[in-house]
Amino acid sequence: MGAWVRPYRAVFRARFHLLVRYRAAALAGFATQCWWGAIKVMVFAAFLRGAVASPMTLREAVDYIWLGQAFLTLLPWTADPELARMVRTGDVAYERLRPLDTYGFWYARAVARRTATPLLRAIPMVLTAGVLLPLAGLGTWGLAGPKGPPAAGLFGVSMLICVALSSAFSTLLDTLVVALLSERGVNTIMGPLAIVFSGNLVPLPLLPEWLQPVMRYQPFAGLLDTPFRIYSGHLGGWDAAAALGRQAFWVVALVLLGRLLMGRVMTRLQTQGG
C-alpha cells in the first residue's frame, strides 16, 4: 500500500482501539439485544403460525431477526458524537488544518466506528443465537448457518459493502452536522429512517406488497436487508448479484454526494465558540 493511505489507516486503528474499550456498554447492549431478539422471534412466529401465505419462511425470518440484533450498531443512525462536540466548540476548524483530505479522514473514522462496536456486539450475539440456543434444544428459534458455501461467500462480500455503505452514510451525517451546527435534528430524523428502511424493524419482504418496488431500490436496503437475505438463501443467483450491484451503486452515489456536500460546506465553514 502506498504511503498516502498511512494516515487514514492510523486514524482507523486509533479509533478502533478506543471503541473496543467500552466493554460494560457492550455487555448491557448485548443483554438488551438478546431480550429484544427473543420477543421479536416469538411475535413473528405467532404471526406466521396463522398465515395462509408468507413471502418469508419462519426460518428465514428468524435468521433475519438474529442477524439484525447482532449487527444493530452497524446502522448509521447517529452522527459521530465527537465531531458534533467539535462543531459546538468550534474545534472543527482544526480539521481543516490537517494536511489530509477531510472527507477521507472522516470516512476512516466512520469505518472504525462501524466495525469496532458491531464486532463487539456481533460475536457474543452470534454465539448465543447460533450455538447456545441449538445446544439448549431450541434450534428452531436460533440462528442457522448460511445456506451453503456460495451464500456464505456472497454474504461476506455483501457485509463488506454494507460497512462501506454505512460509513458513507455516517460521513454524510457528519457533514450535515457541520452544515446545521447541531447534531440534534440529524439524529432525530435519521434513527427512525434507518431502522424502518434497513429492515431492522420488520424484514423488508414482509412489508406490504405495494411498498416492495420502493423498498428494493432505496439505499437503506443495502445496510441490512441485502446481506441477511443472501445469508438465508432468500436471495440467490442473479437476484443476489443484482442486489449486490444496487448496494455498490449506493456506496458510490453516497460518497460522491458526501464529497460534494463537504466541498460546499467547507468553503464557507462557520465556526462557533471562542
Binding site: 416469538m42 396463522g50 424502518v196
Partner: protein
C-alpha cells in the same frame, strides 16, 4: 409546606426551565413522538400482511399498545431523577445534599424534573388508543374506563418501580445500568402484543416476576370481551393491576435498603 405542594413547586420550576429552550423542547418532543411511533408502524405492517395474530385483530392489539404506552409515558415523564440517578447523584456525590434536606429522598428525586418532552410519547400512545376505540366494538361505559384507568395507573406504578430499582443498583455500581432498559422499553415492546402469543416461560416471567402482563393483558382482555384468553376469572383479571402497586411498594423498600448502604463518593 406539605409534600404535595412542595412537589407542585418542584414541577413548576422544572417546566419553566425546560421552556427556556423552546426549539430544543419541540425537537425532542417530536423525537419522542416519532421513535415509539415506528413500533406502531411495525404492528400495522405485519397486520396488513397477516391480518391477525393468533386470532387477535389489529384494533385489539392497538388497545394493548395504547394502554401500555400511556402507562410508560407517564412513568417515564415523572421519574427522570431516578433514571439518571447514577450519573447525576451517586457519581458526583450530590446525593449527600439530598440526604441532609428534611424531606424524603423519593420526593426530592421525583421533583427533580418533569420530563415534559414525554408529551410526544403520550400523544403517540393516545393516538393508538383512539384508533382502537374506532376499530373495536367496545361499549365505552364508565366501568370500561374505570378498568382501563386502573390498568394505566398500575402500569405507571410498575414502570416507576423498575426505574427505582435501577437507581438503587447505582448505590453499588455507581453508574446507571442500562440493563433496566430491557424491562422498561423492552417491557413496552413485549406488552404491546397480547401475552398469550408468547412462550410459557416468558408469560410466567411477565406475570409473576415483573407483572407487566397483569397491568395490561388481563384487564384489557376483559374489556375486549376475551377474558377466556387470560385463563383467570374476569373479576381477578380486572384487579390484577394492583400488582403494579405492590411492585412499586417493594421497590421503595429495596430503595430504603440501598440508601442505608450508601457511601458517598463526594470529595
Amino acid at each position: 409546606m406539605n409534600a404535595i405542594r412542595l412537589y407542585g413547586r418542584y414541577i413548576g420550576a422544572s417546566l419553566r426551565s425546560q421552556m427556556q429552550y423552546p426549539g430544543s423542547f419541540l425537537l425532542t418532543s417530536l423525537g419522542a413522538f416519532v421513535a415509539p411511533g415506528i413500533d406502531f408502524i411495525a404492528v400495522w405492517a405485519l397486520f396488513s400482511r397477516f391480518r391477525q395474530i393468533e386470532g387477535w385483530q389489529f384494533g385489539e392489539v392497538a388497545l394493548f399498545y395504547g394502554v401500555i404506552g400511556v402507562a410508560f409515558a407517564l412513568a417515564d415523564g415523572l421519574t427522570r431523577g431516578f433514571d439518571i440517578f447514577g450519573e447525576e447523584f451517586v457519581k458526583t456525590g450530590d446525593f449527600d445534599r439530598l440526604l441532609v434536606r428534611p424531606r424524603s429522598t423519593v420526593l426530592q428525586l421525583l421533583g427533580y424534573e418533569l420530563r415534559a418532552t414525554r408529551i410526544g410519547r403520550l400523544a403517540q400512545a393516545t393516538l393508538a388508543w383512539a384508533l382502537a376505540v374506532h376499530l373495536t366494538n367496545i361499549a365505552w361505559t364508565w366501568q370500561v374506563w374505570a378498568i382501563l384507568a386502573f390498568a394505566v395507573a398500575g402500569g405507571a406504578a410498575l414502570f416507576a418501580g423498575i426505574l427505582v430499582l435501577q437507581a438503587t443498583l447505582a448505590f453499588w455500581t455507581v453508574e446507571s445500568l442500562e440493563i433496566a432498559n430491557t424491562l422498561t422499553y423492552g417491557g413496552v415492546e413485549a406488552a404491546q402484543y397480547p401475552l398469550d402469543i408468547y412462550a410459557q416461560w416468558f408469560r410466567n416471567f411477565l406475570t409473576f416476576i415483573v407483572p407487566l402482563g397483569c397491568v395490561s393483558f388481563f384487564p384489557v382482555a376483559v374489556v375486549l370481551g376475551r377474558a377466556d384468553r387470560t385463563g383467570v376469572a374476569p373479576a381477578l383479571a380486572v384487579l390484577a393491576p394492583a400488582l403494579g402497586f405492590v411492585f412499586f411498594g417493594v421497590s421503595l423498600w429495596v430503595w430504603r435498603f440501598g440508601v442505608r448502604h450508601y457511601t458517598s463518593t463526594g470529595s
